[in-house]
Every structure is written in structure tokens, then in C-alpha cells.
Symmetry: C2
Subunit: 344 residues, 2 copies
């Protein structure tokens, strides 16, 4: 790191999204008189009769959840996308100002475990491996459809991150179009490949491995690091060591290692403030449009909101919404905090 | 509106940011078992001895707030940007992967009123007009500096939006660089001007005035509407009728009308769920870089989080962070709700 960056306001460039983040390391002294979140209450029951994701219970839409014993996938009862959504595309002749088009897709829910009280952090590596297998299957199945260009796998963890249920589960939103963030990462990776004749995230992983400053965990097939351009206080990116583009390409050993590093990241998070750490996480495998993607390197993002304690979060408001993202602690100091937590 | 869009999932294009938003109008039936926010408690005291923004009180940094009687501007005690931040720019020879540069700037706080219990919604038009005058002065003063390319005026209102103090106040972050969102809007407006030989927001305002479907308030110089491509449930954009680019160009009558429409938008918000409506709002005047900006049309954005009630908000998480924004109610139905609230 440039020593000037350590204690002075600066901007960092995210080559993946081709955007900047403002870093204000001197601002950590700021007192906080704002909103304090409810402390997270870990789910205590292994089976909750009122939880619609617990095995055998009836969901809000009236459908019954099977008595599953490992993972369980079902169509979202209140799906944001539907496979039979009518296709239309028009601007009603309105000078490019009222452009809308029908968007179809499939939304599924994946229960990670029948146990209501578990989280990825508390599950065993073989149990998480079963989740990885389901993600890979779903990615392959949904991606093979004519009407799907992207399969977005994600997890909202914790009420603070909009999860409406503590039962360990994630979602898949598979859509006809490629979503904004993936479009941006596609353009960033493409530009990098064109200019440097090498994959952006391969080059980045190599460099970070050499510097070791922002890495928080690694195993034979994956590394987890706080990216140089992280936006969220304890943001983490998980990268395969090998140039893997899609989920279906992962070998047996890689799936196992992916499960292990996910457990490592999530359990490290829980130690930082001695609380079940809320986050949104998601996988970014390559899209399924009609192009080849030599530029695309598979990765996962963790976007956790906590900043100072179990109850004081970073707000992405005001300047962030109108200008651009801003952070107080540097990615290097966040990585150091995470490494120390991991060692406890 | 295309009747197919009214009840079916679709995407809408935002020509200002050149991004898409996913609209799922059929999803409003979804039950909510997730986080419920603390109901907003309006500030009861006209003067709070513990508030560091009330006249005559000592702030967290030890500086005393003047005994002001109208508006009051001071340098942020915990500024994210500093005027004397060292300039550096480097990538340490690291293949475009660790790009950072020193970023300088000025952060100020603007108290809107000495009264602790007021909000823009409760202030009179002449009182808000005084705030508009301060914004225009600050914009001109800061923008005339060599080391400032953008003056971002904004307000975080309500604890839910990260405001650390209920005292009516806003902020200014003026920076050496143009922030991401403004860079995106610049590119969108430029492309539109090049392709259509007319200003994007002039054309848009004319069309919306003709259609009247998404307008929620207007006066001689301004209109307020829910944009066709709105992301937040009750997002509003305020546009001048005349092609105005910067704040300093507003005539006396326009400043008065701007104050009036701000009062109208904020007091309408408060009526929707009978609660002081939280939001982030901000002004987007033209930048101060070395270019002319024939494409730039001044506007203000309101980004409010509430969705279903005073305590149930929209979470921008999971798919939103990893894919792109998604909304349930259509902008047209949000506009209808706002018009009905305004009429109450
Ligand atoms: O400066 P404040 O009001 O303490 O802080 C608030 O506004 C800032 C600018 O939008 C945000 O970066 C902070 O996350 C938020 O808490
Ligand atoms: O589908 P859920 O879990 O009810 O909803 C949650 O995740 C969605 C996808 O990230 C978001 O759009 C919602 O705002 C959030 O509350």
C-alpha cells in the first residue's frame, strides 16, 4: 500500500465494475449517535412450527414444504420473475424515454438444512458441500434453458439484510436478461483481457497471493480476500485459484474446497463482533448468452453491513446513493481484523 | 403505459444512468415476516440541550455551534474529505489492479433551522427558500475553487436513512473528482443529446407533462414526478421546467418555486403512512470540470425506503446488490398513492 493512502482520503478503482470508491481512513474517530440495530438473536429452536421452511410445514402460499432431510429446492411462492411472463418490447414511440420490455425468469428458494437453528457458519463442510452441489445443479439446469441468460444464486442472511426468515436458505433468480451488475463485470473483465491479454481475476489473485495483505483465508483451490476496492466495511471476495468460469466446471475437490472456504468466511464473520454476522452473498459465474466468455472468472461476493459493532452498521445513503460509495476503515485494516478474528 | 406492463414482470430502462430496473407488480401480495423498523418518533423539543446542532451547543469535536437564527453552515467535524489531503496517483506498477489516488474536498453541514423539531415538510416556504439560497451560495462558492469538480448537496432524513441527528440539516460533500453517479448521468445525458439533438430531461419533462400519469406536484417553474425508471418504492425526481444546469442560474421566482415544490414533496411523503417519511435526497446540478455541459439539466432526487407502512421498508439487498434493482409497486401506482396522499 502507498503509505499516503493509509491515513488520508483517497479513491480506489474497481476494475471489475469500472467504478471508484472513496476511502476516508481518518474518519473512524467519528462518534455515532445514529440508529442502533436490534442485536441479532440466533434461532434457538431446531424445528419451529411457525417457520414455513421447516420440513413438513405449510407455507404462506398454502403449499406444504416436504419433509426433507438435507437440502430442499422449491419455486418461490412470491416470485419476482415468472417463466410465462409475456414478452413485449416497446417505447411507445416515445423518443427512448419510456423503454420497457417483458422480463421472464424463474425464482427458487434453496433450504440449506432442515435444521432451523443452523447457518452456513455452523454447518459442517460436508453439509455445505451438499449446498454447493445443489447450486451447481441448479445453475446447469436453469442455464440450459433457452429463456435464461443468467442464474443469480444469493443468500440474504439476517433481518438487517432483509431476510424474512432465519431458517438457513438462499435464493436463485434466473432471468432472460443479464442483470446490471453482471453486465458491468462483463465489461470490466472484457476490457482488462483486451488491454492486458490476461484474465483480470487471475492476475488479481496472483498479485494478492504475493502481497498477502488482504487475504483472510485460502486452501488448495480458493482464496478469500477483502478486495482492494471493497465498498462494504468487511466485504469479501472468494476466488478460485484455477481459471474457472461456471459452476459446472468445478471438480470434486474444488467443490469441497469451496464449501470449506465458505465455512471459513462465514464463521470468521461471526467472531468479529461475537454475533451472527448479517450479509448478502452471491455467486457470479459466467452468463449463458450466445457468446463465449474467456474473460469471465467465477467468484463470490459477501456484502456485510456491520461496521463498528454488532448493532452499528454502515448506511449506504446520502452521498453513497447520490455520489458513490464511501468507506471509513481501509480494506487492509478490515482484512487484519478478519484475520485476527479467524485466529481466535 | 403498455397494459402488459401493469401486471407482469418487466424491465424498464433508465436513460439517465443507462441501467435497467426490474419491476414485479404481481408481487405486492407477498406476506412480510421480516424486519419491522422502529416507528419514527418526531422530535418533540424545539431546543434539545444534547443536540450538537441546536444553537449555542457544543459539538462532539468540541467546537461550539453559533446562536444562529435562520440557517447555519459549518465544516463537518468528521469530514470524509479534507481540502489538504495529499495528492498522489499510483498503481505501484501493478497492472491496473491497485489503482488509488489522493482525493481532496470539503464537507460541510447546513442546519436548515434553529428549531430542533422542524423538518423541511413542516417549515414554511420562505424558510425553505432560505435553505435554497444557502445551497446556491455554497454551490457557487465551492464550485469556483480550482480543486473542486463537484458539489454534492444532500440530506439524510430519519434514523432509518443513517441520519445521526433529527435536527433539520443537510450536508455538502464537494470533491476534486466527479462522483460515480454523476459520471453515469453525464454519460447518459450526453448520449441522449448526441442521438436526439435535444436535452434528455427537457424531452422527458415535456412528455411527462403531456401524459400526467407520474406527476405528483407542479408549479410555474418545477414539476415533481415518480420517474418511469424509479428504483425506490416512492422515489421522486424534481425537475425545473426551464433548461437550468446549475443552481446559480435559478431566478428569484424559480428559487421560490423550488422551495414550494420541496415543501410539497416532503409534506406529501409524511401523509402516505402518517409518519415522518425517511429519505435521502440530493441535488444534481452540473459539474465544474473544464468542459461545457449543454447536456446537463438540473434535478433533485428523493430516495425514500418505506414500502408498505411506516415500519416496513424495501431492502436493497441480495438480488439488488448482486444483480440489479427490483421493485414491486409500479411507478404509476406509487404516483397515484402520492397524489391521493397530497389531496388528504
Ligand atoms: O455524516 P453522517 O451524517 O454522520 O453519516 C451519514 O451520512 C454519510 C453520507 O451520506 C454516510 O456516509 C454515513 O454512512 C451516514 O451515516
Ligand atoms: O424474497 P424475499 O427474501 O422475501 O425478499 C428479500 O430478498 C429480495 C431479493 O434480494 C429483495 O428484493 C427483498 O427486498 C428482500 O426483502
Amino acid at each position: 500500500m502507498n503509505p499516503l493512502a493509509e491515513n488520508n482520503p483517497h479513491r480506489r478503482y474497481n476494475p471489475l465494475k469500472r467504478e471508484w470508491v472513496l476511502v476516508s481512513p481518518h474518519r473512524t474517530q467519528r462518534p455515532w449517535q445514529g440508529q442502533v440495530e436490534k442485536p441479532v438473536q440466533p434461532a434457538a429452536l431446531t424445528y419451529d412450527p411457525n417457520c414455513y421452511l421447516c420440513p413438513g410445514n405449510t407455507r404462506a402460499g398454502g403449499v406444504r414444504t416436504d419433509k426433507y432431510t438435507s437440502t430442499y429446492v422449491f419455486e418461490n411462492d412470491f416470485a419476482a420473475l415468472k417463466p410465462d411472463a409475456p414478452q413485449f418490447a416497446d417505447d411507445q414511440g416515445n423518443q427512448g424515454l419510456l423503454v420497457a420490455e417483458g422480463e421472464s425468469g424463474i425464482c427458487r428458494v434453496i433450504c440449506f438444512s432442515p435444521r432451523h437453528d443452523l447457518t452456513l457458519a455452523k454447518m459442517s463442510v460436508p453439509e455445505i458441500r451438499a449446498v454447493v452441489d445443489v447450486w451447481a445443479e441448479q445453475y446447469k439446469e436453469l442455464g440450459s434453458r433457452e429463456d435464461i441468460a443468467y442464474v443469480q444464486v444469493f443468500e440474504n442472511r439476517g433481518a438487517m439484510m432483509g431476510a424474512s426468515n432465519p431458517h438457513p436458505h438462499g435464493q436463485i433468480w434466473a432471468s432472460r436478461s443479464i442483470p446490471n451488475e453482471v453486465v458491468a463485470e462483463l465489461a470490466g473483465q472484457r476490457q482488462y483481457l483486451a488491454e492486458h491479454h490476461t484474465c483480470l481475476l487471475c492476475a488479481y489473485r496472483e498479485m494478492e497471493t504475493r502481497l498477502a495483505e488482504r487475504i483472510i483465508a485460502s486452501n488448495a483451490s480458493f482464496i478469500a480476500l477483502v478486495p482492494f476496492w471493497a465498498v462494504w466495511p468487511f466485504e469479501v471476495m472468494v476466488l478460485p485459484t484455477r481459471h474457472v468460469a461456471g459452476l459446472e466446471e468445478m471438480t470434486d475437490a474444488e467443490r469441497e474446497d469451496f464449501a470449506a472456504i465458505l465455512k471459513s468466511v462465514t464463521s470468521t464473520y461471526d467472531k468479529v463482533f461475537d454475533t451472527p454476522f448479517p450479509y448478502s452473498m452471491g455467486l457470479h459465474p459466467q452468463p449463458f448468452n450466445d457468446e463465449d466468455h474467456p474473460e469471465w472468472h467465477f467468484h463470490a461476493h459477501f456484502y456485510p453491513p456491520l461496521l463498528r459493532s454488532a448493532t452499528v452498521r454502515k448506511f449506504m445513503v446520502g452521498f453513497e446513493l447520490l455520489g458513490g460509495p464511501q468507506r471509513d476503515i481501509t480494506p487492509e485494516s478490515a482484512a487484519e481484523t478478519l484475520r485476527q478474528a479467524a485466529a481466535r
